[in-house]
């Protein structure tokens, strides 16, 4: 099922966007933030999805709020490290701005228990948010991102390859394309062995253009696999607006053509994301097949690292030298920041009487301290031993050094 997130003043009529209509598209994208920001809480406007969040305990709702904050402060703290600590070597494809998507989806998943019972998450790019929402050990993740021997993956992987199967976080993938197809393979295994587990893949709007997108949805539908494809449409793939690679305004329109159930959600609102994910998870567990969720969202930083950002400030507004022919207008960034996932989650929980502003602020301070400690611990961890690079090639043994002849 689909519904319109907002009025659609632009009708593409199916034709490829010309440069003229692309400008209209960009204006519309900037406007989207502004228009939606005036509508207040949209939670009740989603009449055709069940409002499952009504059943969540206060404790669970506060956990979700805490998760959003953990992601936010991880991203901000790491960006500050990149910008102000010359000794810091880590980097990220920052997830700030998209926190509600990972949090809302993972809140609907089974994250604790034996490996053969928990749900699996595949991340592609911007993996730190997905990892935290799925429940990885944050200090170990921080250590991994700074190439520490005691990091989550021993310093072998770093940001683009973080992985912790013990919590069902299969991991990041540095490539655009393969993750969804592989996730569908996990869903296939669940289906084949009669498990009620589900597989979730987070992928960006850029993945639409890859053949993998189409293969994933076709096979997931043909086999009715318990797969949830979460398309985080943050408007940009790498340095290009998604109108360069996708003729649809809603990528869900394309997914629907494969016969997959589709939903479009406001990715800035964790409750709406949760509602959509819960419905998809219930369907998948019951053997009802795959769901494609398109979350309309936005990244506050540029594609990679923190160019254009300033230490202590959220978001990047400056020019990214890598974005030669398509960089983000500052007003677009600011318009989206008016609908901040942290602010929206806090307001909903306060409105619902789950917590008050004072408690909400206390929780944020607790999370900031937790993240600060994580960085402090991680950055004091030992560096890797060079010779260990010859390990973990096969299950056993090491390969020979060849660099000395």
């Amino acid at each position: 099922m689909t519904y319109d997130l907002k009025p659609s003043p632009q009708t593409s009529g199916g034709e490829a966007p010309s440069s003229e209509s692309r400008r209209g598209f960009l204006k519309l994208a900037a406007l989207t933030g502004a228009v939606v920001s005036t509508t207040g809480s949209r939670a009740l406007a989603t009449g055709d999805i069940g409002f499952f969040a009504k059943d969540l305990s206060d404790e669970k709702l506060i956990d979700m709020y805490r998760t959003i904050l953990q992601i936010r402060w991880h991203e901000r703290t790491q960006a500050d490290q990149m910008l102000s600590n010359p000794d810091y070597r880590g980097y990220n494809h920052f997830y700030a701005g998209q926190e509600a998507v990972a949090t809302g989806v993972c809140a609907a998943l089974r994250n604790d228990g034996p490996f053969d019972q928990i749900d699996l998450v595949y991340s592609s790019h911007r993996p730190s948010g997905h990892a935290i929402a799925k429940g990885v050990d944050i200090p170990k993740m921080v250590a991994e991102m700074d190439f520490r021997a005691t990091g989550m993956n021993g310093g072998y992987g770093a940001e683009m390859h973080i992985s912790d199967p013990s919590v069902g976080f299969i991991g990041a993938d540095g490539m655009i394309g393969p993750a969804p197809v592989i996730a569908s393979g996990s869903a296939f295994a669940f289906s084949a062995r009669g498990s009620d587990q589900v597989a979730v893949v987070f992928a960006g709007d850029g993945n639409y253009a890859a053949p993998h997108f189409h293969s994933t949805l076709n096979n997931a539908k043909l086999l009715d696999l318990p797969l949830i494809y979460v398309c985080e449409n943050n408007l940009y793939h790498q340095y290009a607006h998604y109108s360069y690679s996708c003729p649809h305004k809603d990528i869900a329109d394309a997914a629907g053509a494969y016969g997959v159930e589709t939903e479009i959600v406001d990715g800035q609102d964790v409750i709406q994301v949760y509602n959509a994910a819960k419905e998809a998870v219930d369907r998948a567990r019951a053997g009802g097949g795959p769901t494609f969720i398109e979350a309309k969202t936005y990244r506050y930083y540029n594609h990679w690292g923190a160019p254009g950002a300033k230490a202590g400030e959220l978001g990047a507004f400056g020019y990214d030298p890598l974005a030669i022919n398509s960089f983000r207008p500052e007003r677009e960034v600011r318009a989206w920041m008016q609908r901040d996932p942290v602010d929206i989650a806090r307001k909903i929980l306060v409105d619902w009487g789950v917590l008050d502003d004072t408690r909400a602020a206390e929780i944020e301070e607790e999370v900031k301290a937790e993240i600060a400690e994580a960085f402090e611990w991680a950055l004091s961890q030992p560096l890797c031993t060079p010779e260990d690079g010859l390990e973990h090639v096969f299950a056993e043994g090491t390969v020979p050094a060849r660099q000395f002849g």
């Binding site: 190439f147 683009m160 639409y208 690679s245 090639v393 390969v399 020979p400 060849r402």
Partner: protein, 322 residues
């Protein structure tokens, strides 16, 4: 003639060929065909030739690689720039379609096509999937596709002209770690052949053969070894397929000692082929090869920089041979 950067030199060649041939196309993702150089006009293929001929696509290297082949088959010279993220996604269409097309059509297929395949791997910290220097071994194995890897801006420009004018499909490997090199590069069009190695230094004690990103370390090591009194001959392969056997063999026949250096993995690195051709043709040759171990490149700079072949390792291997 001016000091030019690598990318400026390459795009000068592409710009010239596109000006000569209004049918020629260029497809890219992520990396816009833009280069600047001090006191020279900015080259921007997208603005100069327009978005009908110079296309910015989605992240779909399969389409990019296939589309230039189709354009070539339709009679339009065509090139695409595949950034390192997707360096082997085009493999199937290059290996199983382009490589066999001329042969399976009994010589009828015409493919004026160039795939520029970016290789990275020089930046410690960008491990694993963003740190590949292994494409040379894969692509050089394909019959019917010329695979070249320049190591200087001068060769990069001349080989780009030659590749774009070649009737054969060309995999033009670009070791991105060399992007900071500059040298005197002529303004006019010129060709550097797609099947000839270059002798960079002449000597009689030892032949060192390398290519692409391996060359700076080799030249650095060779300089020290020369100062130590060793007479070193340095060969830059440039062409991986077809490989210039004659240059290798005549050098090794003189030195009887051969050291190969690759940033690619040890198993099936280009040097393995060089050694095979040398010992097939020259008796009594002592050989060694320096290469990246048969392990994926780890993210940790401590592990990665230790594993990557460098001038120190090359010097040690050379001293052990002579």
């Amino acid at each position: 003639m001016a000091q030019k950067s690598w990318m400026y030199s390459v795009l000068e060649a592409v710009q010239y060929e596109m000006q000569q041939d209004p049918a020629m196309t260029w497809i890219f993702e992520l990396t816009p065909p833009v280069a600047s150089n001090p006191n020279m006009p900015v080259i921007n293929l997208e603005t100069e030739f327009g978005r009908k001929r110079v296309v910015n696509t989605g992240i779909d290297e399969n389409w990019m690689a296939s589309a230039v082949l189709g354009a070539g088959l339709a009679g339009s010279k065509s090139a695409t720039y595949i950034p390192y993220q997707g360096a082997l996604i085009p493999f199937q269409v290059i290996q199983n379609v382009a490589g066999k097309l001329r042969h399976k059509t009994g010589g009828l297929a015409e493919m004026p096509v160039v795939w520029i395949i970016e290789m990275t791997g020089q930046t410690p910290g960008f491990g694993q999937q963003h740190s590949c220097y292994e494409e040379d071994s894969y692509y050089m194995h394909i019959p019917g596709v010329r695979t070249v890897v320049p190591s200087t801006p001068y060769d990069a420009k001349g080989m780009m002209h030659a590749a774009l004018r070649s009737p054969d499909p060309v995999v033009y490997l670009y070791p991105a770690g060399l992007r900071t090199l500059t040298e005197e590069v002529p303004d006019d069009a010129y060709e550097v052949p797609l099947d000839k190695a270059a002798v960079r230094m002449e000597g009689s004690d030892l032949t060192i053969v390398s290519s692409g990103a391996g060359m700076p370390g080799v030249l650095d090591a060779a300089e020290t070894l020369t100062e130590e009194g060793m007479s070193v001959e340095v060969i830059d392969l440039r062409a991986l397929n077809a490989m210039d056997t004659e240059t290798i063999v005549s050098s090794v026949a003189k030195t009887k000692r051969l050291l190969t250096v690759d940033q690619s993995y040890y198993t099936l690195c280009p040097g393995a082929e060089v050694i095979a051709r040398a010992v097939e043709n020259v008796d009594g040759v002592k050989v060694k090869r320096v290469a990246f171990p048969d392990a994926p490149p780890p993210a940790s700079p401590e592990m990665f920089t230790w594993m990557r072949p460098n001038a120190e390792g090359i010097k040690g291997a050379a001293r052990a041979l002579v």
